[in-house]
């Protein structure tokens, strides 16, 4: 056998690491999702210590280390606090299909909440037509089409009649 250290062919073995999951929403998110599905409204939790309204609702206020147990209803309208125009076709893991670029992701703070929610924004991907501070409203699927996950939200869209501040 040839003992010389010769350069060999490079081999890479293709493999898909395909792991199926079924994630439990848990008590807090199950209530959030059923309120959204059945009543078309957003709910958050209010910390008994710092009064911070958190959305999505979760078991503990991380800042205060206390259990959240007061529920509050939030508005379906809010303010855009940040956005990006996406030029990469990012994948939706529940369908395996890409979102077609260009599209807009926005961070919207619903009125009454201290947290923001991130979702698609139905607006032309044009920097002249999107701005921080824009007033937004949520657009949900029709009641009979809602299934109890985040796809029940179609997107946010700007409230009509707004002008970009100079």
């Amino acid at each position: 056998m040839n003992q010389k250290n010769t350069v060999t062919e490079q081999i890479c073995v293709p493999m898909t690491v395909d792991v199926p999951y079924r994630f439990a929403a848990g008590k807090y998110m199950a209530r959030f999702l059923t309120e959204l599905r059945d009543n078309g409204r957003f709910v958050g939790v209010k910390c008994p210590s710092c009064n911070r309204v958190q959305m999505p609702p979760r078991v503990v206020c991380a800042a205060c280390h206390v259990k959240n147990d007061e529920w509050v209803e939030l508005s379906s309208e809010g303010t855009m606090v940040g956005f990006t125009i996406m030029y990469l076709p990012l994948t939706d893991p529940t369908t395996g299909k890409p979102h077609e670029p260009p599209f807009v992701y926005g961070s919207v703070r619903l009125d009454g909440s201290d947290s923001t929610v991130e979702h698609m924004v139905n607006v032309e991907p044009d920097l002249d037509k999107i701005w921080v501070g824009m007033r937004m409203k949520v657009v949900l699927r029709d009641r009979e089409e809602r299934i109890g996950d985040l796809s029940d939200i179609i997107h946010f869209e700007p409230l009509p009649g707004q002008k970009r501040p100079q």
Binding site: V13, M15, D18, P20, F23, A24, G26, A63
Partner: protein, 382 residues
């Protein structure tokens, strides 16, 4: 610097096949809230470090601790995850306190096996080019080890079945156990075969659950509890990664980990010096193999100890009086559950599964297929 480290509190969920009512953070908070209430400690005032144990692929989340930092006191504070067995969380928690850096550490281990598929997750532990393509998982690798172990010492499936019978019988007294009962030899031998010689009863079932624990420096511990359990010895050791580099009938890594822990604890004769053992019997045969590694018996002699009742809860050296991992403890959580069960025994808080006059115990955990990494912790209440 602290001379000694003590376990001052323990909380565990019941272990159930599926906790669809709780997400990972809620499951973790069940035990965190309980251990804080039980000890009267607060995250803000008392806990200066958190170490959690979970696994990215089990959790389906890159950096699996991200989802629990809020409930574990990691928000704007420190929190470290280790992706090995939960016994190793206790190891690092103790080391952090011995170093003098921390005074009071929250330990946590959590896994929901129900949310994915054990065989796929475990297959991803294998090296991708040489072993993974075969589809190997922990059950098939365990079966290779079991058969090699049987061949080395003339052991039989009945020898393994007696471990299942003992542990599931012990689990009758454990309200947290998922699988329990008084079974006969035939029940175990005739259970559905998964990978010869291992049946479904020779393998731990899939369950969801979490364990939390608080460890503290000596001065802090004495303010918290009248029943501190001292961590007296620690050991940790890896064996070869490739199965083919090991003789699977042996457990050198466990022997080395145990030697470290026993030296630190001043144990020269484990049978005489220990009052009970909680070990990670992910598969039935492992209890017999790990007993050798822990220096309790000579190679091949563990089966006789089980058959004679030496390792029963009322025997000379009870092994897994809780029912062990065979009674249902999640992957990653199993080692911290061993430490917790041993600690409860030494606190005198083990309820119906209490071993009389327990003063010293050893807890063993392992990570990877066929016990590649081994962790040994010696505990005492004196």
């Amino acid at each position: 610097m602290s001379d000694r480290v003590a376990i001052v509190g323990v909380a565990q969920t019941r272990f159930s096949p599926k906790r669809a009512d709780a997400n990972v953070a809620e499951l973790a908070y069940e035990v965190i809230e309980k251990v804080l209430n039980d000890t009267g400690l607060s995250i803000e005032k008392d806990i200066d470090n958190t170490i959690s144990c979970s696994h990215d692929i089990w959790d389906g989340q890159t950096i699996s601790n991200i989802g629990i930092t809020d409930v574990a006191g990691g928000h704007l504070r420190t929190e470290e995850k280790m992706a090995m067995d939960g016994s190793t969380a206790a190891y690092y928690g103790a080391v952090g306190i011995l170093s003098g850096e921390y005074e009071c550490t929250l330990l946590l281990a959590h896994t929901k096996m129900s949310q994915t598929n054990r065989h796929i997750v475990n297959n991803d532990a294998f090296e991708p080019i040489y072993s993974r393509q075969l589809g190997l998982d922990f059950t098939s690798a365990g079966a290779l080890q079991a058969r090699r172990f049987m061949h080395a010492h003339g052991l039989s499936r009945e020898d393994f079945a007696r471990v299942v019978m003992k542990n599931l019988g012990n689990a009758m007294a454990n309200p947290l156990a998922c699988r329990f009962g008084y079974y006969g030899l035939d029940d175990v031998l005739s259970a559905p075969m998964e990978a010869d010689p291992l049946t479904a009863m020779d393998a731990a079932p899939d369950v969801d659950g979490a364990v939390a624990m608080i460890v503290a420096s000596e001065s802090k511990a004495k303010k918290i509890t009248d029943t501190p359990v001292w961590i007296q010895g620690l050991g940790s050791c890896y064996d070869d990664y490739f199965l083919g580099d090991r003789d699977l009938a042996e457990c050198m890594a466990l022997e080395k980990a145990a030697a470290q822990a026993y030296k630190m604890a001043g144990i020269s004769n484990p049978v005489k010096d220990l009052d009970l053992i909680e070990l990670s019997d992910e598969f039935s045969y492992q209890e017999l193999l790990w007993l050798e590694g822990l220096g309790v018996c000579k190679p091949g002699e563990g089966a006789r100890l089980t058959e004679s009742g030496f390792t029963s809860r009322e025997g000379e050296l009870p092994v897994n009086p809780s029912g062990g991992v065979l009674s249902g403890v999640p992957a990653n959580v199993m080692g911290l559950n061993r430490v917790a069960e041993a600690a409860l025994q030494l606190m005198g808080k083990a309820g119906e599964r209490q071993v009389k006059d327990a003063k010293r115990a050893v807890a063993q955990g392992h990570t990877g297929f066929c016990g590649q990494h081994q962790c040994v912790i010696v505990l005492g209440n004196q």
